[in-house]
């Protein structure tokens, strides 16, 4: 069951590289803590899911790289090739020499239609290489122009052309005090459009990961590369094969709730001997939770705390809302690791904040002309606000 990754924009491409790197190095890591046969099954499954075979044995990532500037893509391609362990496909990237100027409208209304055919062609070739194609994983940021605008456009196209495949968007939530002044506009436009065309939105907040780097990992000078690596590790431990019921992992999604699911930041927990739950959980209602456990003593791990009905909505029983995926095989260097993927009210506060800020700017019509110049009218803004308010309201009423 193969996944095709679409990396969009500077952020998407950098993170995408880290993700593939993390996946492959985990797959090659010797410390398995499991039998050899299981390790081989794990490796084979990981390889088939994210990489395709090449003549000389170097796996090629099943990825499509898209950016409007050539710099980041070239860096990404060369970093991958340098590693010697894997690489990107030769014809798997699309770039221009233009850039999007952090303008969502430019990415969506100009770049999108102009380059639609080329991009979809590359994606189609990648999909055809898969024996058993299960879905798309789209990595993008919300704040910029290419990742967000073009990303929304591409996701919409994928929904039209591959309506039977699953699409999951990995979205990077910008820093609250970010440097792009119109990032809130970009964010709400992205989110509202993605809410319609995507099946799952996986959110990572830069602020949250920054805190992890600072407090848990004690990194002094936190660079984007550190942040990306943490992110990649979190994603890797979600995506690597696990055992669900009886057989080894397929790319599964639980369809959760109100048409689409918006997943708040992963609270990825680096090696801990015992999982410590955030006490706030009692004030946070979830639609669904997924816990993924890897490594030693995985069978005896106690997840009963997650089955408390108080954590979930009234209309869904914990047995339907909570899932555990386990595997003996440890991830990367971690002897034990646990990841929590949660569809809950965690996201209400950040979302509300962004919507509030964007509304304030909109009320004074700041910078709107840059968007109307390229075809995004005030109506579209209002639609976006409406959708997101609905999302916030639905989550508040859980």
């Amino acid at each position: 069951m193969s996944i095709v990754t679409v990396q969009l924009g500077q952020c998407g491409n950098q993170i995408g590289f880290e993700v593939f790197d993390a996946l492959l190095s985990d797959s090659h890591s010797s410390q398995g803590l499991c039998s050899m046969r299981e390790n081989e099954a794990y490796q084979a499954s990981c390889k088939e899911r994210f990489f395709s075979e090449e003549e000389n044995g170097v796996p090629i990532a099943r990825a499509v790289l898209v950016d409007m500037e050539p710099k980041v893509i070239n860096q990404t391609l060369s970093k991958a090739a340098q590693s010697g362990q894997w690489k990107y496909g030769q014809h798997a990237c699309f770039c221009q020499k233009q850039g999007s100027g952090n303008n969502w409208a430019y990415g969506y209304s100009v770049h999108g239609p102009r380059h639609e055919e080329s991009i979809m062609n590359i994606i189609r070739k990648e999909v055809e290489k898969c024996d058993s194609f299960s879905g798309f994983f789209i990595i993008m940021s919300m704040a910029g122009g290419t990742g967000s605008g073009l990303g929304a456009f591409v996701t919409q196209n994928l929904e039209d052309q591959y309506s039977n495949s699953l699409k999951m968007n990995q979205i990077i939530w910008p820093y609250g005090t970010g440097e792009v002044i119109v990032q809130n506009y970009n964010s709400i436009l992205t989110l509202s459009h993605l809410y319609r065309s995507s099946d799952a939105l996986l959110l990572h907040e830069n602020d949250a990961i920054h805190k992890i780097c600072a407090k848990l990992m004690n990194i002094k000078q936190i660079s984007f590369s550190d942040i990306n690596q943490v992110l990649a590790h979190q994603l890797g431990s979600v995506f690597q094969p696990t055992y669900s019921a009886e057989s080894s992992f397929h790319y599964r999604r639980n369809p959760l709730g109100i048409d689409r699911h918006v997943w708040p930041p992963l609270s990825g927990l680096p090696p801990l001997s015992k999982m410590s739950l955030n006490k706030d959980l009692h004030f946070n209602t979830s639609i669904a939770n997924l816990v993924i456990l890897r490594g030693k003593d995985v069978q005896s791990a106690d997840v009963e705390g997650f089955k408390d009905p108080a954590l979930y909505t009234s209309w869904l029983k914990p047995v339907n809302a909570f899932n555990v995926w386990k595997t003996q095989r440890a991830f990367s260097k971690y002897e034990k690791s646990a990841v929590l993927v949660s569809n809950s009210q965690f996201l209400v506060k950040p979302l509300d904040m962004i919507v509030g800020k964007a509304w304030n700017m909109f009320a004074s019509k700041a910078y709107i002309h840059q968007y109307t110049k390229f075809g995004i009218e005030e109506e579209d803004f209002l639609d976006s606000f409406t959708s997101l308010e609905q999302v916030v309201a639905s989550y508040c009423n859980l």
């Binding site: 084979a44 390889k47 194609f133 319609r196």
Partner: protein
């Protein structure tokens, strides 16, 4: 004078030999058919024949092809299922419904029931079709199941309380998810089938087919796995091997080169391809024999199928003898009054006499039942008052009938639309998938392009109906909303 009158006339003597043969043919043609001796004992209503006949009836009547799970059901359970199946098919004799389910008596009734089933339809042929060994890759193209009647009425759900619409949305999401998984695994299966057909071009001895099917290719690829195929379960194992071997074919990054590497490693000696079974092989070579075992297993299965087929033919030739004999069996039964209008329900049989304790329990249960009935009545009355009689009452049933008729009319219209626009009517039953380069097709062959065209036109019809219904829903919603002042209707962002 002189010739002693024989008790049986010569014609009957010929018949006497023919009857066991006929019954033997019948029992060979049915799956795990009982011996002719059982039939004879059943005529005289001997108890030892009963359980074998219950089991045979169960095999014949159960809707699914027999598997181990079904065979392991207890005799009582099988007997009850047989009774209810016969009852639903309209079996006229009451005596069967009243038989005890422990297999202690009633073999003659069971024999009569069996012959009733045999007289109604081609039972041995149907059983044969169920247990057929599919050598090729098959699929059905006809849509008759899709347009069948709306199906049995859904079980009436008592309203437990207001159902949260979000739960319904969640369920819809789950359904959609499963649907997509189904579609993608079907696509995967098609891609793999196509690969196998492509890579094994020219391998088959049968020129009209020219490539191997999955079953045949699996035989070549995995001789060891074939050794598990044995006995009566052969047919099922091959069926189960089908999806399994599809996946074992899809080794990551497999291309034609790796496929043929595997294959030629196994079959270094020529003459081991499926068409050459009959070719004599050098017996001195253990590897040759072990490589042959999947073929032997397949051969065994096919031979068994042939035997069943021959038994069915023999049965058809000699069944007249059997029916004449059944007349005599019927003659030995007491005449029965015509079946009452209502069949008895199959409640567990409680002994009449019991200890004093049992009486106490019975009285308590009856009192409880009374209480519950009253409570239910009260709640029902309250609910009806609240719900305003919707869901019950003559208006509701009239509305339901009307909507059912509307649905049937729609289906009929759809069927006509399909027949009009679509190509020739699709033949029923499974078709073998064959990939051909030259595009030559026989008269009875169905071209994929034609099938695809027909299916597309059917899809277009269905989509038109869906759009019309969606439009009606939207109008209805708008009307409802318009009737309430002060309500703002925000439709979901259209796509």
């Amino acid at each position: 004078m002189g010739r002693r009158r024989q008790r049986v006339d010569p014609a009957a003597g010929a018949r006497a030999g023919a009857l066991p043969e006929a019954i033997a043919a019948l029992s060979r043609s049915l799956p795990s058919g009982p011996s002719p001796e059982i039939f004879r004992r059943a005529k005289f209503d001997r108890p030892e024949a009963t359980s074998a006949l219950w089991q045979l009836l169960f095999r014949v009547l159960s809707p699914l092809p027999a598997g181990n799970a079904l065979a392991s059901l207890a005799l009582e359970v099988q007997a009850r299922l047989v009774k209810s199946a016969l009852c639903s098919q309209g079996y006229p004799r009451l005596a069967l419904a009243q038989l005890p389910e422990d297999g202690s008596q009633g073999s003659r009734e069971l024999l009569l029931a069996l012959s009733w089933l045999l007289a109604r339809g081609p039972v041995p042929e149907q059983m044969l079709a169920q247990a057929r060994v599919p050598l090729g890759d098959e699929m059905t193209v006809c849509q008759c199941e899709a347009l069948a009647s709306p199906g049995p009425p859904a079980p009436h759900m008592e309203a437990e309380g207001p159902v949260d619409v979000r739960h319904v949305q969640w369920l819809m999401g789950k359904l959609r998810f499963r649907w997509r998984q189904l579609v993608s695994s079907q696509q995967e299966q098609c891609a793999l089938l196509s690969k196998i057909h492509l890579y094994t071009r020219g391998c088959h001895s049968d020129q009209s087919l020219s490539h191997l099917s999955v079953t045949e290719a699996e035989m070549l690829r995995d001789p060891e796995g074939g050794q598990q195929v044995s006995g009566a379960g052969a047919a099922q194992n091959l069926d189960l091997a089908y999806p399994k071997c599809l996946h074992s074919f899809c080794t990551p990054g497999m291309g034609p080169r790796t496929f043929w590497n595997d294959l030629w490693l196994v079959c270094e000696q020529p003459g081991l391809l499926p068409g050459d079974w009959a070719a004599p092989l050098d017996p001195g070579g253990a590897s040759a024999c072990s490589l042959l075992s999947p073929f032997r297993a397949l051969l065994r299965t096919l031979e068994r199928e042939n035997q069943r087929l021959e038994a069915v033919l023999a049965w058809r030739r000699s069944e007249l003898v059997f029916w004449r004999w059944m007349d005599t069996v019927l003659g030995t039964c007491a005449p029965e009054v015509p079946a009452a209008a209502s069949q008895p329900t199959f409640l567990p049989w409680v002994p009449e006499r019991g200890g004093g304790e049992l009486d106490l329990v019975v009285r308590e249960l009856q009192a409880l039942e009374e209480e519950l009935r009253e409570a239910a009545e009260r709640r029902r009355a309250a609910w009806e008052a609240k719900a305003g009689g919707c869901g019950r009452g003559p208006e509701w049933s009239a509305a339901r009938r009307a909507s059912r008729e509307a649905v049937e009319k729609e289906l009929g219209a759809l069927q006509q639309c399909w027949e009009r626009d679509g190509g020739p009517a699709q033949p029923h039953g499974p078709h073998r998938l064959v990939r051909r380069e030259d595009g030559a097709a026989g008269d009875r062959d169905l071209r994929a392009a034609v099938v695809i065209r027909t299916l597309r036109s059917q899809e277009a019809c269905l989509e038109a109906v869906l759009r019309r219904l969606q439009g009606q829903c939207r109008q209805e919603l708008a009307r409802l909303v318009g009737a309430r002042p002060g309500l703002i209707w925000i439709p979901p962002p259209g796509r």
